[in-house]
Each structure stands twice: as structure tokens, then as C-alpha cells.
């Protein structure tokens, strides 16, 4: 097998950027290999992808040094459309990639550009729709597909160009767990086709099957090698801002032998070395113990039907939320999570049923009063940023409520302190990183000191470091007395931070209870397409009360100590 891609001392600085996005990348990828690239936000992962088909430096200009060779030819000397015959690029944002009015035309777009005969286009549509499992959706409108299906279509439409190399830039980031699995299994089939495959991600779960894993930090290629070597190097992973596999972390902290990456590996190691016996979790709190008897928010018989749709998006929801709770709402895309929480601040009005905030019906409360008591942070911070300075942005709601300049000043300073952005007052919100923009969005809601803060996927699209910062910040807010509700796809976030979990499926609440109890019921979670991460399965197997590696260690050490005493 020959060399497919060759990076020859590649450096690139985007025009008008201060720091280089890539610094002296030297690497080669053999034909038919699967390379998994990980790194923090801004590490240069996307730039690597863009350099493969000439988007860097042809569309994004800047200072380009070194070379990228594909099959011995220099990429920067070729036009992007020409490169599309060799390199396929799938982007994170599937919405922007799909622009045709039906699935088959989306598939045909690339081959049409290559001026292939109609019969050949027909063959490719047929082949690759089957390949990504969308053959039955041929005449559907792309916008009516689920997230996982959209991304599969995006991949299919690239495969229809039959490129030798396929690069995917964070293809699973915006997807729910089911969508992630769909994409990873498609990636698996692509590998069997002997295509060279590059996947960029900041989650390590897909990396286990790769031939080679690269770690990137600040534009540099820090490490590369087989996954067993790279993924087990916890220090380097953390240095690059990647969440280390929790099971491995547990093993290291316990000083247990071996480097397991999956649940099965972990169990066989524990059994082999006779480290511990599986145990059933005892004394699981079945019913939620509430902190007060009077609910902050009460939902009674809520039903909702979207205009122009016949389907019930929410059916008969009854729910009480108490002050001081930290709730995670889980469920597949389309299960009704966002529809439900949008009722909490009256963005949507119930078709039937009623919602009470502090005992008063939302119907009787003025808009402004609701906005003041219930803060809502949208998934994409860019949907709300508009001001010239951070100060103006964060103080906007207070100004709307007619507060005095002095009070605004104080509240803004306080909010910025909580989100850790003191000193940013005069910066331009748009020029900040995604993680910072997300925090500005939270601060702008926080400034009014709402009792209840709702966040729609606060960690999506952030790297591990930013995810942790965001969640630690929410934990602090929760301790200060704010009630927090998050919608999330990230089960580890829910497991580590929330104290109550609500699981939704098809517009209904199917599970609602304390975090530990919910995660103990693996079967029911799977029924809602929520696949528990290995560490949770292991903690269920070992029967620990905590779900977080660090806390499990304490518990397990105690257990081992008692075992020794008995002996």
C-alpha cells in the first residue's frame, strides 16, 4: 500500500489571525487507513480537513507554508472542484450541507457537477443510498429527516462522488446518542471499502477502532500512534483538552493492572485479576426526596400540538419542579424535550393543561415577569448576541426591565464574575470563542437573577475543557440557590452533575427520578435510545453509589478495606 496523504511541514495562519492554526505538521497517511484526530477547540483539526481539498488556502486565505501531497500531487496547486474527485469532506453542520429539495437530488448534486451521464448518476444514487441506509427515503425532503439521517445523507452525497479519501469534521457533534451510533456504524462500513478515512472529533469513543490516533494542541501534532497507545496516555489526552476514557481513569486511580477502554475489557480484567466481585446496588432511593413541599413550577395535564401538525408533541405531562433542583432532561431528538421546556417560560402556549410558577398560572403573569423569573439559554449563543460590547450584551435584559444604570453595572459585574469573564466588559461578543460566547449568553440570562435557569444543550459543540467549565459554573449557580434545568445528549454530563433526571420519549415522560436510580435501569434507558457510557455500566456492575470515576474510587477503596477486615 502506498502513501495516500503526505503532510510536508505544513503551517498555516488564517489572514487577520494572530496565531497560526497549524504549525509544522509532518505526517503521512497510508492508503486505506483510518485516522482519528482529536484535540481541543482551535487545535487546528478542521484546518487539517480543509487543507486536504484545498479549501485552505484557496477559499480561506492566509499564510500557507509547506505542502500537502495527495497521491503525489500538491493540493494547493489544484482547484477545489477538481480535488472533489479525490477527497470528500463532510462537515459538522449538516443543515448547511443539505440544500436540495429531495434526497435523490441531494445525492445527484455532486455527480451532476462532475458531468457524469444520467445512468451513472442513477447507479450511484441507488448504491450509496443503500449504503447509508436511506433507500426508503429517496423522495423525502431532507429537512424532514432526523439529525442522524441528515448527517448520513450528507455522507452519502459525498460518497456518491466516489472519493478515495473521506474526511469528516466532527460528524457526530450535533447528534443525539442514536444519531452518533448511526454515523459510527456507517464509518465502519466505509472502512471495509478500503477508503482512506479521517475523522475529527473531541470525543474519544469512536477512536477505539482507528488504525491511528492523532492528538493536536494549538496547531501542533503532539502525538500519533495506535489507539491503545494514545488513548491510554491520560496525561497527554488531558493536556490536549480531551476527556479521558473514564473507565481507564478509574483503573489508574485504583492502581489496577491493564488499560481497558470498553466495559467488556474492564470486566474481564477485574475477573482475571480477581479485583472485586459484582454486586447489586443496595438501598436505591426509589422516590425523589424533595427539598421543599411547595413546587417552584407545576405542570398539570400539559398537551401540545404544533400548528399545521396533527401529531401531539407533548401528551399529558404532569410534573413538579422544586427549588434548588438540578435537572437533566434526556431523550432522543424529537422526543419533545425542547417543546416541554419552552412551555416553562411561555415561549409556547399549551394546547391543553396549565403551568404554574410559584403557584400562579403562567397565563396570568405578564411576559416581562416570566422572563425575569425564568431564564432561558438557547443552544446556539449566536441566536441572541447582538451588542457591540459584552457589557451591553449582558446588561440588555436589565435595561429592558428599566433598571438604574448603577444596578445594571453591579449585576453585570456579578454575572461576569460567575461565568469567569471579568475583564471582558469592553470586548466584542462576536470575536470571542464559541465557549466564551456560550458563557456570555449564560451571563446575559444570569444578570436578571432568575429563580429558574433553563439551558438547551449547554455543552454541545464545546470541547471537554469548556464543557467542564460550563458545568462547574452551573453547579456553582445551583449551590447559590438557582434551580437549573438542562437538556442534554451527553450522558456523562447528566450523570456527574444532575441530581434528578427526566427521560422523554415520543412526547411523554417515561422516567423521572434521582440520577443514580435512573442510570441503574439500563434496559429502560436503552428503550429510549440512550446508551449508558461504559463507566456507568461498570458502576452498575460493581454496585457503587456514585457514577463519577473519582468518587467511585473512594467507595471501592472502602469496600476493599472492609473486605480485608473480614478476611
Amino acid at each position: 500500500m502506498g502513501i495516500s496523504i503526505y503532510f510536508d511541514d505544513l503551517s498555516f495562519t488564517y489572514s487577520r489571525a494572530k496565531n497560526p492554526a497549524l504549525r509544522n505538521i509532518n505526517a503521512e497517511i497510508e492508503e486505506g487507513k483510518f485516522v482519528f484526530i482529536m484535540g481541543h477547540e482551535g487545535a487546528g483539526k478542521s484546518t487539517i480537513c480543509y487543507s486536504l481539498n484545498g479549501i485552505v488556502p484557496r477559499m480561506f486565505r492566509g499564510n500557507y507554508l509547506g505542502r500537502v501531497l495527495i497521491d503525489g500531487e500538491e493540493v494547493s496547486k489544484k482547484k477545489i472542484p477538481e480535488m472533489s474527485k479525490i477527497v470528500g469532506l463532510v462537515l459538522q453542520d449538516f443543515e448547511a450541507q443539505l440544500f436540495s429539495t429531495n434526497v435523490e437530488l441531494e445525492m445527484a448534486f455532486g455527480p451532476e457537477n462532475h458531468c457524469l451521464p444520467r445512468s451513472e448518476i442513477e447507479r450511484r444514487i441507488h448504491n450509496y443510498l443503500n449504503f447509508v441506509g436511506l433507500a426508503n427515503f429517496r423522495h423525502r425532503e431532507p429537512s424532514s429527516l432526523s439529525g442522524g439521517q441528515k448527517q448520513r445523507l450528507a455522507i452519502g452525497s459525498i460518497l456518491a462522488l466516489e472519493p478515495k479519501i473521506l474526511a469528516m469534521d466532527e460528524p457526530t457533534t450535533d447528534l443525539d446518542p442514536k444519531g452518533r451510533m448511526e454515523i459510527l456504524s456507517v464509518a465502519d462500513i466505509i472502512r471495509q471499502q478500503k477508503k482512506t478515512l479521517l475523522i475529527v472529533d473531541h470525543e474519544s469513543e469512536g477512536a477505539i477502532d482507528a488504525d491511528e490516533v492523532w492528538l493536536m494542541k494549538e496547531g501542533q501534532l503532539v502525538a500519533k500512534g495506535p489507539p491503545d497507545n494514545i488513548l491510554t496516555d491520560l496525561e497527554k489526552m488531558e493536556l490536549c483538552g480531551i476527556r479521558p476514557p473514564s473507565i481507564l481513569k478509574l483503573f489508574r486511580l485504583m492502581n489496577w493492572p491493564g488499560s481497558p477502554l470498553t466495559f467488556e475489557q474492564a470486566i474481564s480484567l477485574i475477573n482475571k485479576h480477581d479485583l472485586l466481585k459484582p454486586e447489586r446496588l443496595k438501598a436505591l432511593p426509589e422516590i425523589y426526596t424533595k427539598s421543599s413541599t411547595f413546587p417552584l413550577l407545576r405542570v398539570e395535564g400539559l398537551k401540545y400540538i404544533y400548528p399545521f401538525h396533527q401529531v401531539e408533541a407533548l401528551r399529558d405531562i404532569n410534573l413538579s419542579i422544586y427549588e434548588g433542583e438540578f435537572i437533566a432532561v434526556l431523550g432522543q431528538n424529537g422526543s419533545g424535550k425542547t417543546t416541554l421546556v419552552k412551555h416553562f417560560n411561555s415561549l409556547l402556549k399549551p394546547t391543553a393543561g396549565e403551568i404554574f410558577l410559584q403557584g400562579k398560572s403562567l397565563k396570568d403573569l405578564p411576559r416581562r415577569e416570566i422572563a425575569r423569573l425564568v431564564g432561558y439559554v438557547f443552544q446556539n449563543p449566536d441566536h441572541q448576541l447582538f451588542a457591540r460590547t459584552v457589557r451591553e450584551e449582558v446588561g440588555f435584559a436589565l435595561k429592558m426591565f428599566g433598571e438604574s444604570p448603577k444596578k445594571i453595572e453591579d449585576c453585570v459585574a456579578e454575572a461576569l464574575e460567575v461565568v469567569g469573564l471579568i475583564g471582558y466588559e469592553d470586548k466584542v461578543p462576536f470575536a470571542l470563542t464559541k465557549g466564551e460566547r456560550q458563557r456570555i449568553a449564560v451571563a446575559s440570562v444570569l444578570a436578571t437573577k432568575p429563580l429558574l435557569i433553563i439551558l438547551d444543550e449547554p455543552t454541545t459543540g464545546l470541547d471537554f475543557l469548556h464543557q467542564r467549565n460550563m458545568m462547574e459554573m452551573l453547579k456553582r449557580l445551583n449551590r447559590m440557590g438557582h434551580t437549573i434545568i438542562i437538556i442534554t445528549h451527553s450522558l456523562w454530563v447528566a450523570a456527574e452533575y444532575a441530581d434528578r433526571i427526566i427521560v422523554m420519549k415520543d412526547g411523554e415522560i417515561i422516567m423521572d427520578g434521582p440520577t443514580r436510580a435512573i442510570f441503574y435501569n439500563e434496559e429502560k434507558l436503552m428503550g429510549a435510545s440512550l446508551i449508558p457510557p461504559p463507566i456507568i455500566r461498570l458502576s452498575n456492575w460493581l454496585g457503587t453509589k456514585s457514577l463519577k470515576a473519582e468518587d467511585m474510587v473512594k467507595e471501592l477503596k472502602e469496600k476493599l478495606f472492609i473486605n480485608k477486615e473480614i478476611l
Binding site: Y50, N53, I55, M59, K79, I80, P81, S84, K85, G88, L89, L91, E95, A96, Q97, F99, S100, T101, N102, E104, L105, A108, F109, G110, P111, E112, N113, H114, C115, P117, R118, I121, H139, E141, S143, S144, S157, I158, L161, Y306, K342, N345, L347, R367, R368, A371, R372, F378, D382, H383, Q384, L385, F386, F396, A397, M400, F401, F430, V445, T448
Partner: protein
């Protein structure tokens, strides 16, 4: 949420060649310009609504009923003030209302909403890609045809983003329901800026996606949905042309259908 105008049905209009539909639309547009008498305009509109129903586009017409009604009302109310007619109805200082100007305004109102309905029928029965292909086959350069269809394609996308932005700002206490028109206009900025930024980011990504799929405006490409002119297309175009000829004869030859003959 479905915010596209195209309705995937299989009616006789859907099956027509996109070129027939584009030319037919233009012919009907001209037909609307033939009369300025509300009665004649009304008959034309009823005919066009029938075409709309037979192509199952009534859902979209109903969806945009407020826009159509608004155009109708504006035109009907405003036109009479700018025209003078022979039979005065009301004189109020400088304001003069006459029977002719009132009827003319009514006709203009009908004409404007009929334009919208004709356009809606075209967009409800023609895929974006078919429209592009039709325009290309009619001799329009590919980059221009592509730009037109992309612009049409982006309207619903940006409308969807706009709706989310408004919700996001309402959640932050932006009050869109109260205040006079000037106060409301001043709140426009909080919605416009995020939308502009979104549009710029989105089009940037779209450009990357397009070029990555080998899109090259300068080079030749295959059309997967190659339009074909069938017999029915020629028949319909002939009928429409004869119909237009007949209308022009009515207006110019016989001087019918005009309330104010010297105006269009």
C-alpha cells in the same frame, strides 16, 4: 417544520415542463395587466384560483392569506387618493374620491394579490431544481440560474433562524408586543444583527459544502432531472398564447375591461 413552498403532489401542472410553467406564469402576469376593471380582473382571478385548486396549491395560498389580504387592502385603500375620476363621490378638502378611482383601486388590489397567487402556484408546483433547470434550458447562464434558486432556497432557512432569534430575544425580556410603531422599530436591531451574523456564517459554510461537492459555476454539468417538452406542454402554451391574444383584443380592439382607459 415545513417552511418550503413546494408541495410534492402529482397533478397535471406538476407534470408540466418547468419551461412551460415559467412561460405560462409570464403570460398570466401579462394577462393581469390587460384589465383595470374590477369585474374583468375578478373573472381572471377566479380562473386562476381554479388553476390553483386543480394543482393542489390552495394550502399555500391559504397559508399566505394574510399577505395576500394585506396587499389587496393597501392597494384598494391607497390608489383612489392618487387618481381623479369623472364621477365624484366625496370631496373633503384636498381629498377627492371618485367612483372610477375607487373601482380602479379595487382592480389594482385584485391584480396585486393575483400576482402573488400566480407566483405561489409556480413555486408550489415546481421544484427549486426544476426551476433552475428550466431557466438554464431557456438560455440563462448557470451561475445566474443557480443564484436565483439558491436565493429562493434560503428564504425558508433564514425565516426559520429568524423565528428562533425572536424567541431567544423574547426570553431575555425583549417586549415585541407593546409600544408604538417607532418603539417597536427600535427593537429591530436586536433581531437583525444575530440574523445577519447567522446569514454570513451560513452562506460561508454553504460555499464550503458546494465547492467540496465539485460545484464549479464555469463548467458543464449534467441535469439529473432533464426537463422534457411533451405534447401537452405545447398544447398548453398554444392555448395560453391564444387566450392572451384574445384578452389583448378585448382591451385594445374592443376597448373593454378598462375603468380608466388611459391607464394600464
Amino acid at each position: 417544520m415545513n417552511i418550503f413552498l413546494y408541495l410534492d403532489k402529482n397533478t397535471w401542472i406538476h407534470r408540466l415542463d418547468p419551461r412551460t410553467k415559467i412561460i405560462g406564469t409570464i403570460i398570466l402576469f401579462i394577462a393581469c395587466l390587460c384589465f383595470n376593471h374590477p369585474l374583468y380582473m375578478g373573472c381572471l382571478t377566479i380562473g386562476i384560483i381554479f388553476i390553483g385548486i386543480s394543482s393542489k396549491s390552495e394550502k399555500n395560498i391559504w397559508r399566505l392569506r394574510f399577505l395576500i389580504l394585506l396587499l389587496f387592502l393597501f392597494s384598494t385603500v391607497l390608489w383612489p387618493f392618487f387618481l381623479n375620476g369623472k364621477t365624484p363621490l366625496l370631496i373633503f378638502g384636498l381629498l377627492k374620491l371618485s367612483k372610477e378611482s375607487l373601482l380602479y383601486g379595487l382592480a389594482m388590489g385584485i391584480r396585486l394579490s393575483t400576482f402573488v397567487i400566480i407566483g405561489l402556484i409556480l413555486l408550489s408546483t415546481t421544484r427549486n431544481e426544476d426551476l433552475t433547470n428550466g431557466l438554464i434550458r431557456m438560455g440563462l447562464p448557470y451561475p445566474i440560474a443557480f443564484a436565483i434558486s439558491t436565493a429562493l432556497r434560503l428564504v425558508p432557512t433564514f425565516a426559520g433562524a429568524g423565528a428562533i432569534i425572536i424567541q431567544a430575544q423574547i426570553s431575555r425580556g425583549l417586549d415585541l408586543e407593546s409600544g408604538n410603531i417607532f418603539r417597536r422599530a427600535s427593537k429591530f436591531i436586536q433581531q437583525a444583527i444575530p440574523l445577519f451574523i447567522y446569514a454570513i456564517r451560513y452562506t460561508n459554510l454553504l460555499a464550503i459544502a458546494l465547492e467540496s461537492k465539485g460545484f464549479d459555476p464555469g463548467s458543464k454539468r449534467t441535469l439529473y432531472y432533464e426537463p422534457h417538452m411533451k405534447r401537452i406542454d405545447f398544447i398548453i402554451l398554444t392555448i395560453l398564447t391564444l387566450f392572451l391574444g384574445f384578452l389583448i383584443y378585448l382591451r385594445i380592439g374592443l376597448g373593454l375591461g378598462a375603468i380608466i382607459p388611459e391607464r394600464l
